[in-house]
């Protein structure tokens, strides 16, 4: 396949086009992803998540500068929400990353959620794989501004950075249960603002209450992303976490979990789709639903019957 060769050669247009095909669920995309899969799994993937406006894009920009300074190539995927009313989106994370726009060692891609919940787009994992196959050494994934249960990034990233800011409320309102649990590193950004130390103290207290994770205790770092303060320490923290993962063999564990999730998800999606296609081919699906609605048949037997017909 020509596109595979071009992606191996780091051809920017081929990479970008494959990403679109992947996002649009085009058949060519699946074919290409099949071929590229064997050479993925090389990149180090860092998730950046946190509430809207907390400085995720600015931090991503600064981290990119730091990693580039260390000679690493960087891929960035920045996700913004699709409007549920119009289906459109304004993808504006890139504004903060303009200093890298002419650097051939950096590839930035904006993605809209297209209705997918969880803080990422449905195709984000596959787009990460494309960047990975194209040889990007570090991949930064910026989620949409999240609330508390949009934690899907944990399924994609090796290291999750959770960003918060001072003054979000008396207790650290915006990073409750779900988000708290996925953090490998906490960042209190906008530390130039009043109350940063208080936020750090609150986080420490919250972590004291959290179920003990003996192997790694997430550091809490202060940054001023707009001025580049604390970025070197953040990068060090990320590398320290990566070293920890390597030491404990946890990267393999995480990759296995990720493979399991991906496989099961695909199986579920395609299995259901095929079953439904078959069931609706001759109108029996609608008839069955109609009968269930009229209480002539119960849904439990209907499902069993359908699966039995498919030989399952």
């Amino acid at each position: 396949m020509e596109i595979i060769e071009r992606i191996r050669q780091r051809d920017v247009r081929a990479i970008a086009r494959l990403m679109s095909l992947v996002e649009n669920n085009a058949p060519e995309a699946t074919a290409a992803l099949k071929e590229l899969y064997a050479i993925t799994g090389q990149a180090f993937i860092v998730g950046i998540t946190g509430p809207p406006g907390s400085g995720k894009s600015t931090l991503t920009d600064q981290l990119t500068k730091e990693f580039r300074g260390g000679g690493k190539t960087v891929g960035i995927i920045a996700v913004d929400p699709t409007s549920p009313f119009t289906g459109g989106a304004i993808l504006a994370d890139r504004i903060r990353m303009q200093q890298h726009s002419l650097d051939a060692g950096v590839f930035i891609r904006s993605m809209a959620t297209r209705g997918h919940l969880g803080g990422l787009a449905k195709a984000t994992g596959d787009v990460v794989n494309v960047l990975d196959a194209a040889g990007k050494e570090v991949i930064l994934v910026e989620t949409v501004g999240v609330g508390q249960d949009e934690v899907e990034v944990v399924k994609t990233a090796d290291t999750c950075v959770v960003v918060t800011v001072p003054g979000l409320g008396d207790d650290v309102q915006a990073i409750k249960a779900g988000i708290l649990e996925i953090a490998d590193i906490f960042v209190v950004n906008k530390a130039d603002r009043e109350g940063a130390d208080k936020t750090v103290a609150e986080l420490q207290a919250m972590m004291g209450l959290a179920p003990g994770r003996s192997d790694w205790s997430p550091p809490i770092l202060k940054t001023v992303a707009t001025q580049g303060q604390g970025i070197a320490e953040l990068a060090q923290g990320i590398f320290a976490h990566r070293a920890h993962l390597d030491r404990q063999g946890l990267r393999q564990t995480r990759q296995r979990e990720r493979s399991r999730a991906l496989f099961l998800e695909l199986l579920q999606e395609q299995g259901t789709r095929r079953l439904l296609e078959r069931a609706s081919a001759n109108g029996t699906l609608e008839q069955t639903i109609e009968r269930i609605a009229r209480r002539e048949m119960d849904p439990y037997s209907a499902v069993e019957e359908l699966l039995a017909k498919a030989g399952l």
Binding site: R17, G87, G88, G115
Partner: protein, 156 residues
């Protein structure tokens, strides 16, 4: 299929679409860019919002972009179209330069259109240079949206 995983099964299982706007066949991706040094960004923001409301995915890169930066972003984002906004008077240099850089990189399936304070007498020269259409102050955004919808090149 562009629905989220959970919705996908629901939608087809009931034969109904959960959300029509989400499952549109292919999203049109548009880069809205402000080349040069001028800080007049109201028009660009109005345009970005109007296209979003029309269901487009709009990548907005902010102010003070060089033609090189705009072309690089357009290629990485694999956009279908680029909308340029210029109110500084430097459009006769900036717009053609962007088209030229696209051609140099072999990009021939992206339409470039523009708006801002462009005097009428410049329009035909800009069109010759490869700008598909110019939308000057006062034009309704729906005209630009229709234009892009009808002129965007089909892709898989």
């Amino acid at each position: 299929m562009t629905e989220s995983r959970g919705e996908a099964t629901q939608a087809s299982a009931t034969g109904r679409e959960v959300n029509d706007t989400m499952s549109e066949a292919r999203k049109i991706r548009l880069l809205v860019a402000k080349p040069g040094l001028d800080g007049h960004d109201r028009g660009a923001k109005v345009i970005a919002r109007a296209f979003r409301d029309a269901g487009f995915e709009v990548i907005y890169t902010g102010l003070r972009q060089t033609p090189e930066m705009i072309v690089s972003a357009a290629v990485q984002e694999d956009v279908d179209a680029i909308g340029l906004s210029c109110l500084s008077g430097a459009h006769m240099y900036l717009f053609p330069r962007i088209v030229e850089l696209l051609r140099e990189r072999g990009v021939d399936d992206v339409i470039v259109f523009a708006g801002g304070t462009i005097p009428d007498e410049d329009i035909s020269a800009l069109k010759k240079a490869g700008i598909a259409e110019i939308f000057t102050p006062g034009t309704s955004t729906s005209v630009a949206i229709d234009f892009v919808r009808t002129h965007v090149r089909p892709r898989p």
